[in-house]
Symmetry: C2
Amino acid sequence: MFVPKKKFNHQKGRYAEKVSTSNRVGLEEDFPEFDAFTDAPTARAPTPADATLSVQKVDMCQQINKPQHRTGAYTTPNLVVRRCQEFRVKVTFNRPLVQSDDFQLEFLIGDYPSPSRGSMVVVTFNSRVGGPWTGRIVDSQGVTVTLGITPTAGAIVGRFRTYVAIVMGTGMQRTPRNATTDLYVLFNAWCRDDDVFLPNERERNEYVLNDHGVMYQGSSEYVNFKDWVYGQFERGILDACIYILDAAKMPIGDRGDIIKMVRVGAAMINSQDDNGVCVGNWSNDYSMGRSPTSWTGSVQILLQYAQSGVPVSFAQCWVFAGVFNTFLRALGIPARTITNFNSAHDSNGNLKTDLIFLPDGSPDTVNTRDSIWNYHCWNEVFMRRYDLPSGFGGWQAVDSTPQETSDGYYRCGPASIVGIKEGWIYHSYDARFVFSEVNSDIIFSKRDRYGTLTPYRVERDYIGKAIYTKSLGSNSPVNITQKYKYPIGSAEDNRTMARADEYGLQRDQSELPENTLSVIITASQVNLGQDVIVQVDFNNQSNIPTTIKANLTGSVIFYTGIRANHLKNHNFTITVPANQRKSEIVKIPADEYIHLLVTQRCLHFVVSGQAEDEAVTAIKVLMLQIPTLTLTLSGLPKVKQEMFAKVTFTNPFNFALKACSLSMEGAGVMHEKTHFYRVIEPQASISWKESFNPQRAGKRCLVAVMDCSNLCELRGVASVDITP
Amino acid sequence: MFVPKKKFNHQKGRYAEKVSTSNRVGLEEDFPEFDAFTDAPTARAPTPADATLSVQKVDMCQQINKPQHRTGAYTTPNLVVRRCQEFRVKVTFNRPLVQSDDFQLEFLIGDYPSPSRGSMVVVTFNSRVGGPWTGRIVDSQGVTVTLGITPTAGAIVGRFRTYVAIVMGTGMQRTPRNATTDLYVLFNAWCRDDDVFLPNERERNEYVLNDHGVMYQGSSEYVNFKDWVYGQFERGILDACIYILDAAKMPIGDRGDIIKMVRVGAAMINSQDDNGVCVGNWSNDYSMGRSPTSWTGSVQILLQYAQSGVPVSFAQCWVFAGVFNTFLRALGIPARTITNFNSAHDSNGNLKTDLIFLPDGSPDTVNTRDSIWNYHCWNEVFMRRYDLPSGFGGWQAVDSTPQETSDGYYRCGPASIVGIKEGWIYHSYDARFVFSEVNSDIIFSKRDRYGTLTPYRVERDYIGKAIYTKSLGSNSPVNITQKYKYPIGSAEDNRTMARADEYGLQRDQSELPENTLSVIITASQVNLGQDVIVQVDFNNQSNIPTTIKANLTGSVIFYTGIRANHLKNHNFTITVPANQRKSEIVKIPADEYIHLLVTQRCLHFVVSGQAEDEAVTAIKVLMLQIPTLTLTLSGLPKVKQEMFAKVTFTNPFNFALKACSLSMEGAGVMHEKTHFYRVIEPQASISWKESFNPQRAGKRCLVAVMDCSNLCELRGVASVDITP
């Protein structure tokens, strides 16, 4: 682990020096092995005698504790338990205990542990007061005593050191520091008293224990699946997550508080402000690091960060969400990633997304500042909200993608989903921002020759079109839009919007002309390399024919809605008979767009039509599809047996793929492996076979991703049931 | 002004590139002087003819506008106005206007001004739609037209560029860029529609227009006055405040929003995270910069920051509060500094301040992590809270002193003072933190020989003892404690505490034994160099004599309550007869403490007494007083006449003062001047006379401060009425 250098201490006169903000191992100075009572000035260590009680062995009972605490999957030599649930420790003494013996267990975390901070816990097994964790003697067999210890529901989460101390005359005799008895304490979604209690077992299995997941991309009409290896149980990941808290200099005493933990996590997963985990990059130039599309999961990122202490390059929203999800689940916090299709990022936070058009109907790219992301991924965390009035617990939105518009700082949430649905936008934290991401209106305005804007159309149901998360136990998405909002126009929705208005939402109130004309764009879903057909349908609902001056503008965009390249500008005039529809069809040959594509292979069309006294506009986003990698598994699917994964791919395009990096990974089955191809000619095939030994039983997934310099994110996935 | 270098643009694919975050002058590319209409493809500039309207002169009418907008004090060649109040512009044309003439005024701010952001405002004077600022023709005399322009109540605050554009055939003919017609628009506390509307004229004069103030230090029993030159009207300060917003990369479109402005300000006044204005330093080692106690006001700090772009060293809370106050008032926002005596900074945010004692009664400095600041200064801002339910407007706490415990980031507020008083601690922003600063309980605990803590006493009325701010029109403090809280134990206070508990306050609920024994410490106020007499009074209210084992510990502390040096440990046993008092008197000769002092000259005593079955504790903080500088003024007190300021001082101590830096400054009268003395021997005198020319009339103050390497902050102040 990277240890930050000590800086000049400007704070010397501000803090009692010893506030611990580190849970790293190896630098602690705990109590001496013989610790004389300060109220017994002549104390000295007693001379050992046969009758003197001493500790022979401390056994953390991993085989008993792990299944009960559902922590067997963590790849670490130390015991991992969940708080507010009893775990066992077996202590073997040199002789059977007698009535007068007095001993205690001590659990210490961080430097300078203190009972007033919960970072030094004394567990007693007789009438002497200890606490706040409770202890009991479960069983006593000869010289071996089995102890039951229950951490409190608010216990600090992290790595504790375990000591046994025996009261002995004028002092305490302690066991020496022994790293193998160190103990990780996690949040506990199974415990009713824990702030992260989640009542449903299937949900706990998915949101705490599943180390593989899927994020959804593309558009609400044509969803792309992105498998993601969360890998929260892989070797080093739990330590890396604790390292993140250390890098944030989070006081040890705060690490039992779910809200503080989540907020520190949200701030630390991005590198802004605080040298956090991931560096955001939306430039299409990733030469200084690894492309955001090339990752197979969170594991490499977290390990690299913890080893180097330097932010990892590069991430976009799904990477931030994936890594944050790993962080949360690793610490025992129920969490999931969600995708909001058509996510508003209004640059001035006025809850209106302004799209501006020139007098001729073409988009005014100079004056349009807001963008609509095709999709945006963030996280949800399940928790009690002790800080809010009742009724706002449950799922909370948190977002670690850096967003300048969220109050200037680079984190967001937790914001109660119920609160967002009901319009309580002034609740902590950042509810207003999340509300606008799913509820903004799009205002279409014309900019006249004098520079004045006139709104002519408001679209209320484009933003937050659909919100998806992975369903329980399967890879298909479940639509949770109704958790965030009521149906548009319903009485409940009107109540929510009225409430949000009351707290300064400033929704658009423009009075707009009634329309008799409408327009829609459709484009057939095609593969990259095929021609694109765009159809514009005008519908004239009036009783007189209408002549429309229209403009169709095509662009290649980033998934953030920002134009990467201009593709096409097509002006046309069309006359629609009374009460009829009429179409204009525009064909874009593959040759015309293929050299303009960027990372996301996303085309964006906007049509504006100006009739004599009304204007209409429609938008269409089209994701070009690409083939998948073929990933096949062979061999005996059994723990620790050798198996093989084979990736094959044939380049179907009429251009060569260059500088192709192919990676494979699977949680509990294979660490990331990477293979590099300088060039894959048109119609050429590649095939790569790797052996691996599954480490854990159950349904396991492998993910393969290939990123080339001129085409990114060819994906493949395979799953297999591993028997124990 | 410092211009930040462009970094590699990771955000290219995230934002339409042209989001303006800069209000700096000289780099704008506005419209061309002849701007053809885009819907008139064959447009070209018309050939000038006698009959063609053109602009001869634009007069910003400073003599009329300044007094009406109360902005005459700003030392800038440009017009400064307050928004949502009409100002005048006189335009002189080449000929009288006729019916068919069409012209408009354009006010542009930042790069890439846009009407949808409010950063390009078109003001029309006929029926043609412009907006959102309104315009009218006030008067038309021959070729000169007097125009009245009213910015909206939500107008962007900053420096606008002014253009006159004439509609001319196929395009617009504009006046060329002319920096002398640039216009500063500020918040307007005089305007009912502005979110910073403050109804009372005396309050507006103090909280917006007063450029000199006083902050209070020391203790609630013995208040020290610290005069501070806010200097918001001095040359360059308004530009420096706008530069701070630019350095924060605050979007121009957000700069009309009071909450966003205040939050950006709170984040930027400290240097953490964002390379803001002031570097905090509580180390007692200020060799890398200027000592926090050596500043006379905000002006030097802001000018140095704006010129270098580099954070200024060094600040402690009153410096942050002073500079923040200047920033707020300069922008027209009603603001004041306040002092909270005995301010809690509990390091784990549990709203309990834990003081821990060893079995022998002496403070357990190893395990005590919380501290109580003797005082802490922050700011209040007066504003509407459009984002909260009604009733929470008015004064809001904001704090730019970096506070690690405030949610991990370095800013705090705005938090409604009414909300804090009523216990609505979940309201935005940081209400919980401010609540704890004024309401924490002190928990006195004994740490037993086994490491277990037992609370034995809770003090509920020590923290937030008194909250002071400067009174209107005078330098004496006014106690505003009742604005923050109800009397302890009142029904209203109980309601507030119950409400705060409901939202997760976690107040201490320990059941404590009833006491019959009490103790207080008193210490007579003395000057530095005199012996200190500490008196400890035990009061035994029981009917039997009590023998007490007691410990008195004395320390030198920083104003943050942190121990700088150990001074004394005095153990004694005292027997107090039934129903009587008994005292122990301890004398500390000057020689014993003088070599241990640090910046704040603050002694801290704590006494603990242990009787058979109860324990008592008391705390006393003693500020040693020092002499003042003598500051006398002479000469004719009239604007632009020469006057003289003379500082004299005789060293009364028996040690030499070394490396003494003496500074003088007065808002509107004298820029900071500094004089250096290598050594001032015991009983030696210094005298320094400086000439100055007052720039502004009215009651003006001069402040002198002398900081030596071994004694800091000898202060002097003088005031004078300057006639116009």
